[in-house]
């Protein structure tokens, strides 16, 4: 029932989000159309944040209860998290080229996001080895320590000297109401996409 509901919500929200992204949201004055990448970029960010938070949650539960199901769930969330971290970096690069004039720069936020990708990429390999050698708890420890990087990604844009823009700053934010509507709907669409993907991944494990 919940699965169908998620699918329905995804098929409703995603086309509307795409429509709003290209036709409803106004064109940004300075960056132009390239700013539209921002909505999907934020969608990817919200998905990987959610995925790594749940990976942490299931890893902790696995360490406490020793129930292998939690370990499998933690891995599934991390896998989706890695995919969306990669997409975040790629979409960020497509935005950076016209705006900053370069595909990549070692800005603190970009660097910490890249480290996050490497960390959870290693976690995926580490997990498969830990299962092979019958020590899945080690992977859970790996995941818990990896999570420390996630808050650093968020803090880095505010407290370290870099060129990444702070969109939701303490000084009122920098986007118009139509942009905000588009952003919120895109985030909702990506939330449902995430639920559907996790569900598919977990079903794949059961087969």
């Amino acid at each position: 029932m919940l699965r169908k509901l998620n699918l329905i919500m995804l098929f409703v929200t995603m086309p509307v989000a795409i429509y709003m992204n290209y036709l409803y949201a106004p064109t940004e004055k300075i960056m132009g159309d390239v700013q539209r990448l921002f909505y999907f970029h934020m969608g990817y960010v919200i998905v990987f944040t959610l995925a790594f938070c749940l990976n942490l949650y299931y890893s902790v539960r696995f360490l406490i209860t020793n129930n292998l199901n939690y370990s499998t769930k933690a891995y599934s969330h991390a896998e989706i998290g890695v995919l969306f971290t990669f997409l975040t970096i790629v979409s960020g690069m497509f935005w950076a080229k016209p705006v900053w004039g370069t595909w990549w720069t070692w800005d603190p936020q970009l660097t910490t996001t890249f480290i996050l990708l490497v960390l959870y990429g290693s976690y995926l390999v580490f997990y498969s080895y830990s299962i092979k050698f019958n020590v899945p708890k080690y992977a859970a420890i790996f995941a818990i320590i990896s999570f420390i990087d996630l808050p650093i990604v968020y803090i880095s844009v505010r407290v370290m000297r870099g060129i990444s823009p702070v969109v939701f700053g303490g000084e009122g934010g920098g986007i118009s109401p139509q942009m905000m509507d588009t952003l919120l709907l895109t985030l909702a669409a990506f939330f449902f996409l995430y639920l559907v993907l996790v569900d598919m991944r977990l079903r794949l494990d059961k087969t």
Binding site: L63, T112, I115, L119, S122, Y129, F133, I141, S146, I148
Partner: protein
């Protein structure tokens, strides 16, 4: 507290008696220092200095853990009815002490090989070395002890945990740049050092707890 002291003293006694870890690290230290001081130059010599320190950490942690190996191909202490987090804390402290001594040797060797006094001994330098050692030792010691249980493949899995210390390394290298340009009081109140210190406390608290959870049967 008593148990930590017992474990730590046991490690120190074994080390004083055999000196295998110390000489193992010393050989690594001298070779890498020689190579790096001969062929690499950097505007901030402390970066190269801590690069050597980092390499030594990577290479020697599994060696230090192996000191504990018992007769049954497993660490004896894993089968003792004690809180394993205390064992892990003792081992982290032992590694930190060992690397602190190694750091002094590295300092002497580095200055000797470069023929100049590139690095000044000051409170900031020692404080940073100590903080750096505790953080990196917390992760590497915990994992190297855990991976001792998986014999041959443990080495490969140990390489996989290197990304775990990447955030710590980035914060450390940012802090080193401050060390070069600031006096002691400015250094300890700098943002990079404070973040590094917070990260350090977090790792030192987290790793032993996770270690005991991982080995709980």
């Amino acid at each position: 507290m008593n148990l930590i002291k017992i474990f730590l003293l046991k490690d120190l006694k074994v080390e004083f008696k055999e000196k295998t870890n110390f000489f193992y690290i010393l050989i690594l230290l001298s070779t890498f220092t020689l190579i790096i001081t001969t062929y690499f130059k950097h505007e901030n010599p402390l970066n190269l200095y801590f690069l050597i320190f980092l390499i030594i950490h990577f290479f020697s942690h599994q060696r230090i853990s192996r000191q504990e190996i018992g007769t049954s191909d497993d660490l004896i202490v894993f089968n003792l009815p004690v809180d394993l987090s205390l064992f892990c804390i003792a081992k982290i402290l032992f590694s930190t002490l060992l690397f602190f001594v190694i750091n002094i040797f590295l300092f002497l060797l580095y200055n000797l090989l470069t023929q100049e006094e590139l690095i000044n001994l000051n409170y900031g330098f020692f404080l940073f070395s100590f903080i750096f050692s505790i953080g990196i030792n917390s992760i590497l010691t915990s994992f190297s002890l855990l991976l001792e249980r998986i014999k041959g493949e443990g080495h490969f899995m140990f390489i996989l945990i290197f990304p775990l210390i990447l955030p710590f390394i980035f914060l450390s290298f940012n802090s080193i740049s401050d060390l070069y340009s600031m006096n002691f009081y400015k250094f300890i109140s700098s943002f990079n050092f404070q973040i590094l210190f917070a990260f350090d406390i977090l790792l030192f608290a987290l790793c032993p707890i996770l270690f005991s959870y991982a080995l709980r049967r």
